[in-house]
Amino acid sequence: MQIRDAIAGIPYAKAEIESISEATAHRDVNLPRSTLATLVESNPPLLAERIKHSFPDANQRSKFVNASMFLCQDDSAHAWALNKLADRYTPQNLALLSADENFKLHGILADHIAALRGDVGHLQRQLGPLPDYDLETSTASAVTGDLLSASGASL
């Protein structure tokens, strides 16, 4: 009602708002159901069972998952900013900066990198060591070898 009142004074604007019961009454029963609503079901997370085991309480579980995703979002924001700065400050554009501007850019980059390093470190600690998967031991070593040689690091 308030929306209809607000729109009433605007020229050429017409409210076409229906309540659920009105919409149901006007619904074309011949339309296939799939055009009226699409139910999207997501697959459970890969670590659903382990997370449930570690956090039997649903609130705790939710906090843990939210904290993980918050870290990822924060990391992604810093990485996105670095990516954009790299696109923007080509060698040609960089040459146009004054010493003061260059110093500021240096500071901005350093802040993003420091934040990214801190959050990634936090995420690594949160992930902890890799668990043992007895059923997959035979493939694990081969995959580990490939990845370690690719990254030049040790897990």
Binding site: P45, L47, F64, N83, Q124, L147, A153
Partner: protein, 63 residues
Amino acid sequence: MDDWRIHAHRAYESMELASDTVASLRVGATGMEESPFKVQLRLHATLIELQEENEIFDEKTYP
């Protein structure tokens, strides 16, 4: 000379990959993933690579 922009782009790509992987592990899978072990292994490797990019980036290459 090593270009800092390359490390910035790599860090961004690694972080995108890591974010998607954490979401698959902890929020909801797409159904296209490998086993949880392999996914976790790749996530660990991606994060190590990302930290390496950050270290190189931080130490010597940017303006």
